[in-house]
């Protein structure tokens, strides 16, 4: 049972984000790529927020976001991308997939914590 699913192929980023969110009272589970993310989301209906990288092996974050809506038919979970990408075309694709927001790395926990807490309520 977790409130947040953190999806990133980099253990450095996973650890950094997880440690910060846990230290601030959120429960977090992790996935190493988009495919793993879909599996974890299917297995844990309590997840309210997915924070995901875009560029990952096996399945990228935008494809995962599209599949969350189209294949899992999950319209309620909030998806936020945390990525080095800042392209308008990618953001448009994300919007079309129903993602909630976009963060350009590096991660700045203090800047987003309040919003994350609202999104898991």
């Amino acid at each position: 049972m977790a409130q947040v699913l953190m999806v990133d192929d980099s253990s450095t980023v996973r650890n950094e984000v997880c440690d910060f969110l846990k230290a601030n009272g959120l429960t977090v589970t992790v996935a190493v790529d988009g495919k793993d993310g879909l599996d974890k989301l299917k297995a844990d209906p309590s997840i309210k927020l997915v924070v995901s990288d875009v560029n990952m092996p096996n399945m990228d974050g935008l494809t995962m976001a599209e599949k969350i809506r189209q294949e899992l038919k999950n319209a309620s979970v909030n998806v936020i991308m945390l990525t080095t990408e800042n392209s308008a075309a990618m953001k448009e694709r994300g919007k079309a997939a129903g993602i909630k927001g976009w963060i350009v790395k590096p991660f700045n926990g203090a800047a987003v914590l309040a919003t994350f807490k609202k999104l898991v309520c």
Partner: protein, 328 residues
């Protein structure tokens, strides 16, 4: 004649020459040509080869024909150097004749040119063609350096990050034990970016990072950190210099094999063009005994290089600040 390459860039050359009088002239010439001269402490083949093993970022070698005060000894040394590092251009200084006349065909082929101190014009133009053969835009060189420094400061927040003057290298030797590689694709350049570093020193740095002191870290943790550094630097490069809406299908997506020789720590991208190199030094704050830990970043634009088409994205100034959440 002034060299026309980017004034922000230098290149390191190994100077194997004789008396101080000659060395002083060469030193002045090097400064004029944006070259950083390195001299061995001792003469002899072993000393030179030791330098070659410890310096993996050279642009070339200036060698005197009678190095070691022995007639023809420089040519014998050149054979050893050429066998060890054929990618490094050799420039032969002779006493009176500014040509390779009199050398055997194979020996002559080792040198990019021969020159005399009385006339350095030949050397100057050959340096231009062999080391400074590519023009790297100032904005690109500055931008890469700034963006990568910020990425390093993010990942190594307990360290000061110093950046050396960027330089061009002809070497193809891999520095240290660990390196990352990522492709760069744009309408004006195609190639790769690498980071190279020493595993033990970098492991020490991440082990002493706040929160990691008692963690049992392995080389995989270092891999992950360097992977994320590469990702951050690559993302910043893309966001700043790579345009959108490119019709990649219309572009010839050529590739060439990348060859790595582990025994020789050698990596080839199939191009002899000089690589753009940045050296960053990490030094842990608050530790007077902290050692400087170097990290090298190299750019190899071996598949396409069209600097005339280079431009920063118009939206670069209005990009959403890194770390902030842009809600849709």
């Amino acid at each position: 004649m002034a060299l026309s390459h980017d004034p922000l860039l230098v290149s390191k050359v190994l100077v194997l020459d004789e008396t101080d009088v000659h060395l002083d002239s060469l030193k002045a010439f090097c400064e004029e040509c944006a070259l950083v001269g390195i001299r061995p402490q001792r003469r002899g083949v072993d000393s030179v080869l030791t330098i070659l093993h410890s310096n993996v970022d050279l642009g070339g070698i200036l060698l005197y024909e009678n190095y070691g005060a022995t007639p023809g000894a420089g040519v014998l040394l050149a054979r050893e150097i050429h066998a060890a590092r054929p990618e490094l251009p050799l420039f032969l200084r002779r006493d009176t004749v500014a040509s390779v006349a009199g050398l055997g065909t194979q020996d002559a082929a080792m040198f990019r040119c021969a020159y005399t101190l009385a006339d350095l014009q030949q050397l100057r133009s050959t340096l231009e063609a062999s080391i400074f053969s590519r023009v790297y835009p100032n904005a690109l060189v500055r931008g890469i350096s700034e963006m990568t420094r910020v990425s390093l400061e993010t990942l190594f927040s307990h360290c000061e990050v110093e950046v050396e003057t960027p330089y061009l290298v002809k070497d193809r030797i891999i520095y240290g034990e660990v390196f990352t590689l990522i492709s760069i694709e744009s309408h004006w350049c195609r190639g790769y970016m690498m980071f190279q570093g020493e595993e033990p020193a970098l492991m020490g740095v991440i082990q002493r990072a706040p929160g990691n002191e008692d963690a049992a870290l392995t080389f995989r943790d270092l891999n992950s950190t360097l992977g994320e550094l590469t990702n951050l630097a690559w993302g910043a490069f893309k966001n700043r210099y790579v345009g959108e809406n490119l019709d990649w299908a219309e572009r010839a997506q050529t590739q060439v094999p990348i060859v790595i020789n582990h025994q020789r720590r050698f990596i080839s991208f199939g191009s002899d063009d000089p690589q753009l190199c940045f050296k960053y030094t990490l030094r842990e704050r608050g530790d007077p005994d902290a050692v400087a830990v170097p990290l090298y970043q190299r750019f190899v634009f071996n598949l396409n290089w069209s600097p005339a088409d280079f431009k920063e994205n118009a939206s670069v100034d209005s990009l959403f600040d890194s770390g902030d959440l842009e809600l849709f």
